[in-house]
């Protein structure tokens, strides 16, 4: 397990600040009616993506949910392509057709967001099955919220992966609230790691606000899956600082709880640790934010310059062959 160095910490900091500033810019652009529809922001949970993505190989598969901007950015999808997708433009990573909840980049084995809670879990099992049958050493990391645990597909997928011993890394981002329903109001047993273990796979709970803890555990889990070929389960205990989506009065949780979790902002935790270790000076966050903001400005300009798709293309990609459906 690589020891955390000044360099890896600097990279983690930049990754988390990129996601944080990207998401905040999306909030602003949404309120300026440049982004439409639904928008689910990753603010507060950045450490999970920042910690897990470096542990994966390029050939590994990633399957996400509708809160997947951070995963896409840190998996390497360019900020411009993600922003253009938010704007519904042709140069978006899904051609402008998917929007915030359906980011795709198969060249980077990023098999999308998915707007159906738990919808991606069976896909991940299938991708791992294909790798297994083709003797490819790749693993599949599947991200989902604790809300998915209540879906039948969670149980069916965990069981199938364990039964067939498939290389799936189940990454549960437990942010305590499934939209407006707290975990303890929907699950009889809220110890998700314990439940995962019942499927006969190793399960680790992790402090989702500590990027170094996340990275260390992720590396161990990825190594286990890759070597054993079988599945593993990670429960990241984390918290989203903003609303579930842009239209959420947050009546289901009180301000004090939000304040206490904000006190453990993953970016602040890392900065303190770096400053104490003399690896950075106190205003390192502002410097990184300035660099990142320039990158995000460029991404917004790229998105705004990208054209809308020609309506004549509407029927393409329904089938591989445009005339397969008689064009009806």
């Amino acid at each position: 397990m690589t020891r955390p160095t000044a360099e890896t910490r600097a990279e983690a900091l930049r990754a988390m600040v990129l996601v944080r500033r990207f998401e905040e810019r999306c909030a602003q652009l949404y309120q300026e009616t440049k982004i439409h529809g639904f928008l689910h922001l990753y603010v507060g949970e950045e450490a999970v993506a920042a910690g897990t993505m470096p542990a994966l190989d390029p050939a590994d598969n990633v399957v996400g949910t509708y809160r997947e901007h951070g995963h896409a950015l840190l998996r390497g999808v360019p900020a411009g392509a993600v922003m253009a997708e938010m704007f519904g433009r042709v140069d978006g990573c899904s051609g402008g057709r998917g929007g915030s909840m359906h980011l795709f980049d198969t060249a980077r084995h990023f098999y999308g967001g998915n707007a159906i809670v738990g919808g991606g879990l069976p896909l991940a099992v299938g991708l791992a099955l294909a790798d297994r049958m083709k003797d490819r050493p790749a693993i599949t990391a599947c991200f989902f919220g604790e809300g998915a645990v209540a879906e039948g597909e969670f149980h069916e997928s965990m069981n199938l992966a364990a039964l067939w011993n498939l290389p799936v890394l189940f990454c549960c981002e437990n942010n305590l609230y499934a939209m407006g329903t707290a975990l303890d109001r929907s699950e009889a047993n809220t110890d998700l790691s314990l439940r995962a273990a019942s499927y006969g796979m190793p399960a680790w709970p992790v402090d989702g606000m500590d990027v170094e803890a996340v990275a260390a555990t992720a590396e161990r889990a990825v190594a286990y899956v890759r070597n054993s070929g079988g599945p593993a389960f990670l429960e990241f205990r984390t918290y989203r600082f903003r609303a579930h989506s842009m239209y959420d009065p947050e009546l289901y949780r009180d301000k004090s709880e939000v304040a206490t979790w904000r006190g453990r902002d993953p970016i602040d935790l890392l900065v303190e640790r770096m400053v104490e270790a003399g690896q950075a000076d106190p205003d390192v966050r502002a410097q990184v934010e300035a660099e990142v903001d320039a990158e995000i400005d460029a991404a917004v300009e790229f998105a705004e310059a990208s054209p809308l798709e020609d309506p004549d293309e509407l029927l393409t990609h329904v089938y591989a062959d445009v005339s397969a459906d008689g064009g009806t």
Partner: protein, 467 residues
């Protein structure tokens, strides 16, 4: 937030949900002059679903309030002015270009539709047509190369193809499976309630010119009137086994009207002395059984064929403002049908037929025309037409050219006529042959050469025929 002056920034009513179009300030949580950091809550906005706190996205000092609590304003309306505070090394956001239109100029609906903001989509150098448009063109049998593209950069769009498809000339009036494009007229309301008539029946009735109100009485024992009923009705009206000439009738009527409108006709006539020819034929037919006898009409047709072959300017078509000579002589022979109307089958390569062969072809087309069993080959395009009403005793006939042909030969009845030879006079059996010509293609001289050539051909045929 958009800048109007270098440092003054407008705070606008934010869009706080997919379907939010307006909001009401419930209360301001700050006062003008207060300093706020990025992310700080400055007001509470009431939407139709709930009250939601709104934040600032950059450190600033609160300026003037532009909207009072309780006032409902559309999304994007400026609600307060803020003085941006310079922050650290880099400004929070690169100042956006001056001409950024504020959100208010864009109606919320538009905002929901097209993303507002200053960008104008740069012309996208896509390929000229999309696969879908090419597929659509195939379906409508439209050649994309000839379609004018109205899309950006001259690109051919879907509506261009659909427009091109709709201007393709409607299929020939002969009833084809393809339903005709123009909407059918609603038949008049039958007295005492609307008769039940099937769509096919309505279409066939309209094509056969049967008025809507008469349709009702075609129904039998209360069943709806069907296509078969209309066809039967049409057949009864025309008598048994008579080929259905109505569509042909209509087509020829249109043809004649168009001919008269477009073609500047000139007419020439020449009397032909056919006395020797008829004697010759009689002696020839004496040795032949009835089935092999030759009628004068066959000989005259052979004469026309020879003339057409000799005077090519009369044998072809006038299209796209110029004459196109035909490679062969295909004669359209006008046959009148007892049930009324005419039919014009074609004798192909007439110039290569000897008189016997011509007689055989003539007998075939007359017989088939009588039985209404004309073949496709019979109706091939003619290069010149001959009308021969002689039988019914007309002395001469000046016909109307069948467009797009450029000439028509009319043959009158055989008549005993006074014929002067030098200073002596005798009675001769004559036929008055006329030529109607299209003055755009030929002029009187060519026409008269044609008739002279025809006369010489008859003499030649006279001598060549061996008993």
């Amino acid at each position: 937030m958009t800048d109007t002056a270098a440092s003054t920034v407008e705070l606008r009513m934010p869009a706080l949900g997919a379907d939010m179009t307006e909001g009401r300030i419930v209360e301001w949580l700050v006062e003008p002059g207060d300093h706020v950091d990025r992310g700080e809550i400055v007001a509470v906005v009431e939407t139709d679903k709930a009250d939601i706190e709104i934040e600032v996205f950059r450190a600033a000092t609160i300026g003037r309030f532009l909207v009072e609590p309780g006032e409902v304003v559309p999304v994007g309306t400026p609600i307060a002015e803020l003085e941006a505070t310079a922050r650290g090394a880099a400004p929070d956001e690169a100042p956006e270009a001056e001409e950024a239109p504020s959100a208010t100029e864009v109606e919320p609906e538009d905002a929901a539709e097209a993303p507002a903001g200053r960008e104008t989509p740069t012309p996208h150098a896509t390929h000229v047509t999309s696969p879908l448009v090419r597929h659509l063109a195939e379906q409508h049998r439209v050649d994309i190369a000839h379609v004018h593209g109205t899309g950006p950069g001259g690109r051919v769009t879907r509506s261009d193809v659909e427009h091109a498809a709709s201007t393709i000339p409607a299929p020939s009036p002969a009833p084809s499976r393809e339903p005709s494009r123009e909407p059918s007229r609603e038949p008049a309301q039958a007295p005492g309630g609307r008769p039940r008539v099937t769509p096919r029946a309505r279409r066939l009735a309209e094509e056969a010119g049967i008025p809507g109100e008469r349709l009702g009485d075609l129904a039998t024992n209360g069943r709806p009137v069907t296509g078969a009923d209309v066809l039967d009705a049409g057949r009864e009206a025309r008598g048994p086994q008579v080929p259905d000439v109505d569509p042909m009738r209509r087509r020829i009527a249109e043809l004649m009207a168009r001919s008269w409108r477009e073609i500047p006709h000139y007419h020439l006539e020449r009397r032909l002395d056919v006395g020797d020819l008829l004697d010759r034929l009689r002696s020839l037919n004496e040795q032949r059984s009835v089935a092999d006898r030759i009628l004068p009409a066959a000989v005259l047709l052979a004469g026309v064929a020879a003339a057409a072959q000799g005077v090519a300017e009369c044998n072809g078509w006038w299209r796209d403002d110029r004459f196109h000579a035909a490679d062969h002589v295909d004669i359209g022979v006008v046959l009148s049908l007892r049930s009324g109307g005419v039919i014009v089958p074609t004798i192909a390569n007439a110039d290569e037929l000897d008189v016997d062969a011509m007689m055989g072809r003539l007998r075939e087309i007359v017989e088939r025309a009588r039985r209404g069993r004309l073949r496709g080959s019979d109706l091939a395009e003619a290069s010149i037409t001959v009308t021969n009403l002689g039988d019914q005793g007309a002395d001469a006939v000046f016909g109307v050219i069948h467009p797009p042909q450029v000439a028509l030969v009319g043959l009158g009845a055989v008549r005993d006529d006074v014929w002067a030879d030098g200073d002596s006079v005798r009675v001769a059996r004559t036929v008055r042959a006329s030529l109607s010509g299209d003055h755009r293609a030929t002029d009187g001289l060519t026409g008269s050469v044609f008739l002279a050539e025809m006369n010489r051909a008859l003499d030649r045929l006279l001598r060549e025929e061996t008993p």
